[in-house]
Symmetry: C2
C-alpha cells in the first residue's frame, strides 16, 4: 500500500506510542509518554503563566493499567475568579458537565477557585451515582482549600471511557496530594496538561503575555491547556480545555468573550465531526495582575483588545488538537470569504471540513476541486443568495507566500497546473480558499464576511485506529 | 493489516475489477466488466418488464479509453408517459438536471417518451455550452422518434467526471443506433443498466409484478435501474435511477408517489453523505397494462397500494447502491423507533449512518454503543422532547431471528455479552435499533414514528479508493 513517505513517518511514530504495551484499545493517557519526534516542536520549553494560579498533575490510576502517569489535573487560584464555560450540545451530557454547569449558574460565574479533571473515565451515562461522584470530586477540592461550608467553587471535568463509574475513592484519596503539590512552575503546567490527555500523542499547552489599552505598562498573562477532540478516541472523543488569566474580567464579560473565541476556534475545528458527551472549555480570570475590570456589554477598548487576544490564543490552542488528529497527515485551513453572511460561510467551511470525500482526496494529495465545490453546493442551512454558482471560485493558497493556485474561477474550471498542485499538496499545511464573490450582492461591493475552519485528512491510519481491531 | 477474511475477499475482487488497465483514476464504466463473485447474487437472470417500454445500452466511447462497453442508455415508451423526477438539492446543478427539470415543468409531467443517459462525463460545471449539449441529446432522441416539431419529451441524465464538456458529436452520432436497437428483452434491460454505471462493480436492475385493488386480475410490471452513490466515485459520486411501470398513474399522483418513496429509499441511504451535482431519480408510467388511472390527492385504495409497492421497490433498489459502496464490508440497517416525530427520527438515523466513528467501529466489528449514542445526542435539528436520555435504548438485531442484543436500556448501559456481539458482528448484515421510548410522550403510549436508514462501513479500501493515489 503506497503511503507517502512523510505521512508514513508521522503515523508510524504516533502508532508506536499508542501501540506500546497493547494500549490501542485502552482509554487513558498512553503508558509510554514518549512524544513522537514530529510533535516535539509543539511542546513549549517555558511559559508565562498567570499570577495567583497554581497547578498539579497527579497519578491516581483511574485505569488500573496506568501505574505511573498523571491522570488527575488540578488548577487553582489563590483568590476567587470570574469563570465561564462552553459545554457540549450533545443531549447525553456527562455528569461533570451537569455538575459544572450548575455550579456556574448558582454562582453566576463568580467566586470559582478551581478546576479538577480526571482522565481515564468520562463519568458519562452513569446515572445518579455519577452525579454524586462528580459532586464529591469538586467538594473534596473545596475541602482542601478550607471552603467546605460554602457553595461549591470547583468545576469538574472527566474524559475517557463512557458507561463506567469513576473509581471515586481512589480519586478522592489523591486529591489532597494534588492540592499539596500545587505549583506555578512550567513543569507543573506541563505535567497538568499531560494529566488530561487520553489518546493524545502530546500535551497541548500554550501561554502568552499581553497588555490592555487602559494600562499599557501592565503585563497580563494567559495560559491554556487542551486535549484531543472528535474521533481521536477509540470509544468516544472528548475535547476539554482550561484557560487561566490574571486579567480582571467581570463574569458577564468573560462569558461573552469565551463564546466569541470558542465559536472561532474550538467550534471551528473538525477531526471527524463527532461531538462528545463531555466537551467543555472553561476560563478563569482572577484579576491578580491588577488594573480596571473589563466589563460587558460596555465594549471598551480593553474589551475589544481582550477579545482579539483570547480569540487568537484559542485558535492556536485548538489548532494543536487538529495537529494531533488520529492518523492525520495534513493540517488544512479552509477559508470561505466574500460571503454576504457569516453563519452561512461557517456552515460551508464546516461542511467542507467534514466531507469524507474532501478529506480522503487531501490524504491522497489530489487537487480535487470538484469535491470541494460539491460540498459547498450541498451545505444545509445556507441562506438564499449566498452561493451563486457563477460567482464561486476555489483555489489553493500555499503557505510559502507564492501565488495561489486557481482551480475554479467564477464557476468556470481552470486548466490546473498539476505539477504545481502536486508540489503544494506535498506540504503538511495547506489553505483552501472558497470565494463566494459576495453572493447575489456581489455587484454591490464584494466586502462580505469570512469564516475559517481547520481540519485534518482521513488516512488509513485513522481507519485502523478507529476500527479498533479486537484481533 | 488484519482485514477480516470475508471482507478481504469482497474488496479484493472489487479492487481487481477497478484496477484493471489502470482504471483507478478514470471515470467511466469499468473496462473489465467482470462482476465480483460476491456481487453475482445481485444480478437478476430474468425479469418482468413493463409493457410498451424498450431499452438499449450502446457503446459511444464518451471516455476515449472505453473502446468497447456500453455508455449510452436509452429507455423509451411506445406511448406518452406520465413522468416525475426527484433531483439533487446541490446548488451546483449539472446541465442535464437543469434541462430535465425544465422539460418536466413545461410538460407538467405529461407526454414524456424517453430517458437518455450517458456515463463517462457528468456535463456539470460546463456553462451554456453544457446546457446546449444536454438539450441536443434529448432533441436527437425525439428526432429518432419522429417528434421533432413538438415540445421536448426526453429526459436527460449524465454521470462521470465534472468540469468537462461532453463529446457531443460522438453521442449524437450514436443515438440513432441506440434507437434502432431498442428492445424489451431481459438482456437489453441488463445492458442498459450497465451503460449507466461508472465505478459500480455490478449493474443494479430489479423488476417486479403487482396488482391493484380495483382490478385484482390485472398484472402490472415495475422495473428500475440505478447506479452508485456518494463516495463511490474517485471524483464525484452521482446517484441516478430510472423506474418504469405500465400502470396508469396521473402526473400529480406519480410525483407524490415518487417523493414519498425516494424519501424512504434513495434519500435514506448513506455511503458517505456527499450529494452530487447530478443526482436524479425519474419515473415513467405509460399505462400500457390498462385499468383505471391512479390519481392524487384522492388517496384511493389503488394509490395506497401503489405507494406500498413503489416504496418497497425503491428501497430494495437503493439498497443495491449501499451493497456496492466503495470498500464496504458491511450492510447496516439503522432503525430509529418509538419517536414522537418522523422527521427527527430520520435526522437521527441519518446522523448515525454518517458518523465516521460509527462506520469505522462497524468495520472493526466493535460493539461500540457509545458512538451510536453519541451520534443520537449530537444530531442537529431534532425537536425538543424527542431524545430523552433515560428513555433511550440501543440494541443490535441479528438477521437470523435470534433475540436482539441489548446494549443500552433506558439510558443504562447493559453488561454486553461480548462473545455474542462478536458473532453478530461477523455477519455482513446487521440491524441497529435505537428506541427513543416515545420521547417525552413515552408515558402516553409508546406508538410513535419510525425511520430507517441503510449504510455501509468505512474501510481501509475506502480510503485507498478515494485517496486516489497518483503513484
Amino acid at each position: 500500500m503506497a503511503i507517502p513517505a512523510q505521512s508514513a513517518a508521522t503515523t508510524t511514530m504516533a502508532t508506536f506510542t499508542r501501540m506500546v504495551k497493547g494500549q490501542v484499545r485502552h482509554y487513558s493517557a498512553p503508558l509510554d509518554m514518549a512524544i513522537p519526534a514530529s510533535k516535539q516542536k509543539y511542546i513549549p520549553s517555558s511559559g508565562s503563566y498567570p499570577k495567583g494560579f497554581s497547578v498539579s498533575g497527579t497519578h491516581v490510576g483511574v485505569k488500573a493499567s496506568n501505574t505511573k502517569f498523571p491522570d488527575l489535573a488540578l488548577i487553582s487560584s489563590e483568590t476567587p475568579c470570574s469563570a465561564a464555560a462552553v459545554f457540549t450540545t450533545n443531549k447525553f451530557q456527562a455528569a461533570p458537565v451537569q455538575v459544572s454547569r450548575k455550579i456556574l449558574q448558582t454562582r453566576q460565574g463568580q467566586g470559582i477557585r478551581s478546576v479538577v479533571i480526571n482522565s481515564g473515565c468520562a463519568n458519562a451515562v452513569t446515572g445518579k451515582g455519577g452525579l454524586e461522584d462528580a459532586t464529591n470530586m469538586g467538594a473534596k477540592v473545596d475541602e482542601c482549600h478550607g471552603l467546605s461550608g460554602e457553595e461549591p467553587s470547583t468545576l469538574v471535568m472527566s474524559t475517557g471511557v463512557i458507561g463506567q463509574r469513576l473509581p471515586i475513592s481512589k480519586i478522592l484519596a489523591k486529591i489532597p496530594t494534588a492540592h499539596s503539590t500545587l505549583s506555578s512552575t512550567h513543569d507543573a503546567w506541563l505535567s497538568t496538561a499531560r494529566a488530561i490527555c487520553t489518546t493524545d500523542t502530546f500535551p497541548k499547552l500554550l501561554s502568552t503575555t499581553f497588555t490592555l489599552p487602559s494600562s499599557p505598562g501592565r503585563t497580563y498573562n494567559l495560559a491554556g491547556m487542551t486535549k484531543g477532540a472528535g474521533m481521536i478516541h477509540p470509544n468516544m472523543a472528548t475535547l476539554l480545555g482550561v484557560l487561566c488569566t490574571d486579567a480582571p474580567i467581570t463574569a458577564p464579560a468573560l462569558s461573552a468573550l469565551l463564546k466569541h473565541a470558542v465559536s472561532r476556534s474550538f467550534n471551528a475545528i473538525s477531526v471527524d465531526g463527532d461531538t462528545s458527551t463531555n466537551d467543555t472549555i472553561a476560563i478563569l480570570a482572577n484579576g491578580a495582575a491588577g488594573g480596571a475590570p473589563i466589563t460587558h456589554p460596555n465594549r471598551s477598548d480593553d474589551y475589544t483588545a481582550m477579545q482579539a487576544v483570547l480569540t487568537d490564543f484559542t485558535q492556536r490552542l485548538s489548532q494543536l488538537v487538529v495537529r494531533d488528529g488520529e492518523g492525520a497527515t495534513k493540517f488544512v485551513t479552509v477559508r470561505v470569504q466574500n460571503s454576504p453572511c457569516y453563519d452561512s460561510a461557517k456552515l460551508i467551511a464546516s461542511t467542507i471540513a467534514r466531507s469524507p470525500l474532501v478529506k480522503t482526496a487531501l490524504y491522497g494529495r489530489d487537487a480535487n476541486w470538484g469535491r470541494i465545490l460539491c460540498a459547498v453546493g450541498y451545505t444545509q442551512g445556507v441562506k438564499d443568495g449566498v452561493v451563486v454558482p457563477d460567482r464561486t471560485s476555489v483555489s489553493f493558497r500555499p503557505l510559502d507566500g507564492s501565488p495561489e493556485l486557481k482551480l475554479l474561477v467564477n464557476g468556470e474550471p481552470e486548466q490546473v497546473d498539476e505539477a504545481r498542485a502536486a508540489v503544494i499538496l506535498q506540504e503538511e499545511d495547506l489553505e483552501i480558499v472558497v470565494d463566494l464573490g459576495g453572493g447575489e450582492q456581489g455587484d454591490k461591493g464584494r466586502g462580505g464576511e469570512e469564516a475559517v475552519y481547520w481540519f485534518c485528512d482521513f488516512s488509513h491510519e485513522y481507519v485502523t485506529i478507529n476500527g479498533d481491531y479486537r484481533t
